[in-house]
């Protein structure tokens, strides 16, 4: 009964948000103003979602691609039940996960950006955005991945130990090939997290609207754009921002549907169910 009420509450809130986005963006959609002309200059009537969208997607994709190899190795290393240090690693990961977005953004603008200046990158840029995003997404990926394969890992590890296989051989030759679907679904969920990240990205990317061409140039993500302008946007401009949010929500929905389909396949592959 309680779980049913919890479920209906989340479904109702989701539908309410969706309805709000649809209602507020209707003004812009019905006016016929082009949504892919030039760049984003709302006060002069020019709206173009494409540079913002490509920036968000490329920032998140690149950050997640960086996170996958790093996260997989950290996760596989931490699953080793033998070593006591692994509980310490898990605690450090929990702390990194709980750091607020603003704190990491602040670190980025005060330490990362001046540090990158030594390499010829002047000021906030696409690269600092990717680095900050990977920091935010890394704990998410690791926890999701570990959750997906912990059950299988326990049973396989016992067998491997009895055969006398070292942990590293077991992790790389046995566990890793089996966990590819888990890596993929965790990657997609982390991608969703990275797409939604606002404040950290806003503080370190420079907020210039342009198609991402060079990694050393400043860019503006879709979420940062909404955060910068929503406070004072009126009428058409406000409606355009809601349409941006609607597009973002649609992309995330598609992502989650793909993950659900993947997880269905996963649970039919393993004897003991996955995530």
């Amino acid at each position: 009964m309680l779980s049913l009420s919890g479920l209906s509450l989340s479904v109702i809130s989701f539908m309410l948000i969706l309805l709000l986005l649809l209602k507020e963006s209707y003004l812009f959609v019905s006016s016929g103003v082009s949504f892919w002309n030039n760049l984003w200059f709302p006060l002069e009537g020019e709206f173009n979602i494409l540079p913002l969208l490509t920036t968000s997607i490329s920032l998140s994709l690149l950050a997640c691609c960086l996170v996958v190899p790093l996260g997989t190795s950290i996760a596989l290393f931490s699953l080793n039940q033998n070593r006591i240090e692994n509980t310490v690693y898990k605690k450090i990961l929990h702390i990194l996960n709980s750091l607020p977005s603003v704190v990491i953004g602040f670190w980025g603008i005060m330490i990362l950006v001046p540090f990158l200046r030594n390499f010829g990158i002047q000021g906030p840029s696409f690269l600092s955005g990717v680095i900050v995003l990977s920091l935010m997404v890394l704990p998410t990926f690791i926890f999701l991945f570990m959750q997906s394969i912990e059950n299988i890992s326990k049973s396989y590890e016992e067998t491997a130990k009895s055969l006398g296989i070292s942990y590293i051989t077991y992790a790389v030759k046995i566990l890793l090939p089996v966990s590819y679907p888990a890596i993929l679904s965790s990657f997609l969920l982390s991608l969703g997290r990275a797409l939604g990240e606002t404040i950290a990205v806003l503080m370190v990317t420079g907020n210039i609207v342009s198609f991402p061409s060079k990694i050393t140039e400043p860019v503006r993500s879709l979420t940062a754009n909404i955060a910068l302008e929503m406070a004072y946007a009126m009428d058409m401009h406000r409606s355009a921002l809601f349409l941006c949010a609607l597009v973002m929500m649609f992309i995330l929905l598609v992502l989650y549907i793909i993950v659900l389909k993947l997880q269905k396949n996963m649970s039919s592959t393993f004897i003991e169910g996955g995530a």
């Binding site: 950006v113 200046r117 210039i208 406070a231 004072y232």
Partner: protein
Amino acid sequence: MKRKKILLLFLCTLFASCTKNKDQSKLLITGSSTIAPLIADIAKAYEKSNAVKIDIQTGGSSRGIYDIRKKLSHIGMVSRALKKSETDLEAHLIAYDGIAITLHKDNPVNELTKEQIVSIYTGKIKNWSELNGNKARISVIHKAAGRSTQEVFLKFFKLKDKQIKATSIIGDNEQAIKLLASDPNAIAYISIGTIEYYISQNKNLKMLPLNTIVPSSENVRKGIYPLARELNLISHKSTQLHPEALKFIKHITSKKMSSKIMEYYFVPSN
């Protein structure tokens, strides 16, 4: 039985939040990030002797105007004169301020003409070496749309936002100061009051003279600095101003607060 207890607890917390605190009224003031530090300081002292809680939020002058129009706040902070089209708003002038072109102290360039500033901001001049400075790319810091510092700056140099080729866009004045303090090749335009206040504590930035006139609150007071603007508190013309808000505005525009306004390097209106 357990479900009933949970339901009862839930209903109690729901109703507990419904009580109104009759002793204290609340004021919400939103808008310009230039005026916010001054108002926050005055509000802190004001709260001690008056039964009112004042909440101050930045977001740019356009947010101040939007919130007043949608009746989301009691007072708006706008760091420019009201436009002719803004007839539904009433402005209470509290101070005058200017906008200065600011560089890092270590930058060898000491003066820029109007044409040079326009060329830098439209991307025609990209390197400090073209201006007898270091051989380094210019980091152009621009304010986000909707901030009146940006609007006043663009109007003075007869530019449109589309023409600006910047390397980073910031929101509040503080972000510009942080970026400028860590990058010796950056240029930004910041409120004179904010910069003078900052320089009095950390000496690593410098303001450039405009048309040979040195930016300072003294020159703004004398009326000779060209890039000057008003600092206003706005309210809706038709709706009645909240009595506490009216009291607070009268307090700020009184003679007693003049010294406080000057502490922030603005020029009081009286």
